[in-house]
């Protein structure tokens, strides 16, 4: 077995570029989903808004500036091959350095603040990176960034249901969360959700579900069916783009499930606005 060495400085450089690109370039799958929604939406006002949103993505790309001013906290999903050896520095420092440099050089907004319990002070460099790491076979390092804005993150929810509430209870909890959020998370939205596991696992899965290509169903037909039903219910709410009233509110519902304790039914919902930024690099 060979151990592959990756320089910490290479990680920092990759992350610097990754956070900038993620904030400037809206992924094509998101754009396609927005175009499809514009065709299907019945409200004139919402169609106009969806057109403006698509135009915004083009302007951001051309002018090399952030799609949205809330360039988020820098959330990462990392898959670290177990045959990788990071040399020349430590992983955490490299990730933070990449974030600090990217947010500064890319003219991205720094939203990370210290003193959560008192007089808040902006940290000035948007660190620390929020990192979720999985150890995987192989000798590659895969880093995905999903910058997450406050507006949509604030609308997320955790429900500790009882097993007797079952499938219908899960569906109701997710749809109610979207209903309550209304116009706040900048609809159209993508709904990341999960059922099962534990409190922390279910919330992590709900966010992870957002990394999937927009509209790609869960491979499990039972879960995919649930995704379709929830999407239909959400679009019936009438919220529409920006909450102005329309026939389309969500671009997609992405769900993940996890084995669960016999006494529990955790449900996690993570709402993602239409600025669904995600970008991956493999080292």
């Amino acid at each position: 077995m060979n151990v592959r060495e990756i320089e910490a400085s290479a990680i920092a450089d990759a992350v610097e570029k990754l956070v900038i690109d993620a904030n400037y370039y809206l992924p094509e799958d998101v754009k396609d989903a927005l175009k499809k929604m514009r065709e299907e939406e019945e409200s004139d006002l919402c169609r106009q808004i969806l057109g403006d949103i698509l135009k915004n993505a083009d302007i951001a790309r051309e002018r090399q500036q952030p799609i949205c001013q809330d360039t988020g906290l820098a959330v990462f999903f990392v898959e670290l091959g177990q045959d990788v050896h990071i040399v020349g520095g430590d992983f955490r420092t490299a990730m933070d350095e990449g974030v600090a440099r990217g947010y500064t050089k890319g003219y991205l907004r720094k939203s990370s603040q210290d003193h959560v319990l008192g007089e808040r002070v902006n940290r000035g460099d948007n660190t620390p990176a929020i990192i979720h790491t999985d150890l995987v076979p192989g000798d590659k390092l895969t880093i995905t960034v999903c910058p997450k804005g406050g507006g949509s993150e604030n609308m997320s929810a955790l429900g500790m249901l009882t097993p007797s509430q079952g499938r219908d209870g899960v569906k109701k909890f997710i749809v109610d969360t979207v209903s309550r959020a209304g116009s706040n998370p900048c609809p159209p939205i993508i709904v990341g959700c999960a059922a099962g596991g534990t409190t922390e696992e279910v919330m992590l899965l709900a966010k992870k579900a957002l990394c999937r290509k927009v509209g790609e169903p869960n491979p499990d037909p039972e879960v995919a069916q649930m995704e379709r039903e929830i999407l239909e219910e959400i679009n019936k709410l009438g919220i529409g783009a920006q909450g102005f009233g329309g026939t389309k509110t969500a671009l997609a519902v992405h769900m993940l499930t996890h084995p669960v304790h016999l006494a529990s039914l955790p449900v996690g919902v993570n709402i993602q606005c239409h600025v669904a930024r995600h970008r991956t690099i493999v080292l």
């Binding site: 019945e42 409200s43 949103i53 915004n56 949205c68």
Partner: protein, 184 residues
């Protein structure tokens, strides 16, 4: 739908002519302000100090822009969630604030104050910060520079696109639009 072109500052007559659902293009001076700036303004009022901006007739845009690149007036600058300013907004309307730009729901107390003081609440498109920044021609920090992106900026806007979401009669596009399309 034709957009209504508005030249700021807003007068009561102009506001009374705006209705929930109208698309407007704003021209003139607006101020930025979000969580911390509102807190600071209200603290100054508590102490009886003079505010650093002329609040009478003003429009406040709830935004924390990105830094400007060289050659730009401002970086991406879309709205933030207005509900977080609900605790402060009625107090500013009582002393002359005429318009707010943001996104998202407002509390009943804000709507009541808007009716009483003849104010209007606009939404600009959440998540369209790059597009919106093209309508912002000048930006200058006028208060609380220590707050960085949260400082109060004076912006000169040209044809800045917004939608009236709550008018001075209390009509709310978020409620009415949704009711129109909701399938029970």
């Amino acid at each position: 739908m034709t957009d209504k072109v508005i030249h700021l500052p807003l007068t009561d007559e102009m506001i009374q002519d705006l209705h929930a659902g109208d698309r407007v293009l704003l021209n003139g001076i607006i101020y930025t302000g979000r969580d911390e700036a509102h807190l600071y303004l209200c603290r100054m009022l508590d102490k009886g100090e003079e505010l650093p901006i002329e609040i009478r007739g003003a429009v406040i845009y709830y935004v924390g822009p990105c830094p400007a690149k060289p050659g730009q007036a401002i970086g991406s600058a879309g709205p933030t969630t207005s509900g977080r300013m609900d605790a402060y907004a009625p107090r500013l309307m009582d002393i002359g604030l005429k318009g707010m730009i943001g996104k998202g729901l407002r509390k009943p107390a804000v709507v009541e104050s808007m009716k009483k003081n003849i104010c209007v609440y606009f939404a600009s498109i959440g998540g369209a910060g790059a597009l919106l920044s093209e309508s912002i021609k000048e930006a200058e920090v006028v208060a609380f520079p220590e707050l960085g992106a949260e400082a109060i900026y004076r912006l000169r806007v040209e044809n800045f696109p917004c939608t009236v979401v709550i008018d001075c009669y209390g009509k709310d596009l978020y409620k009415e639009g949704r009711a129109k399309y909701e399938v029970k």
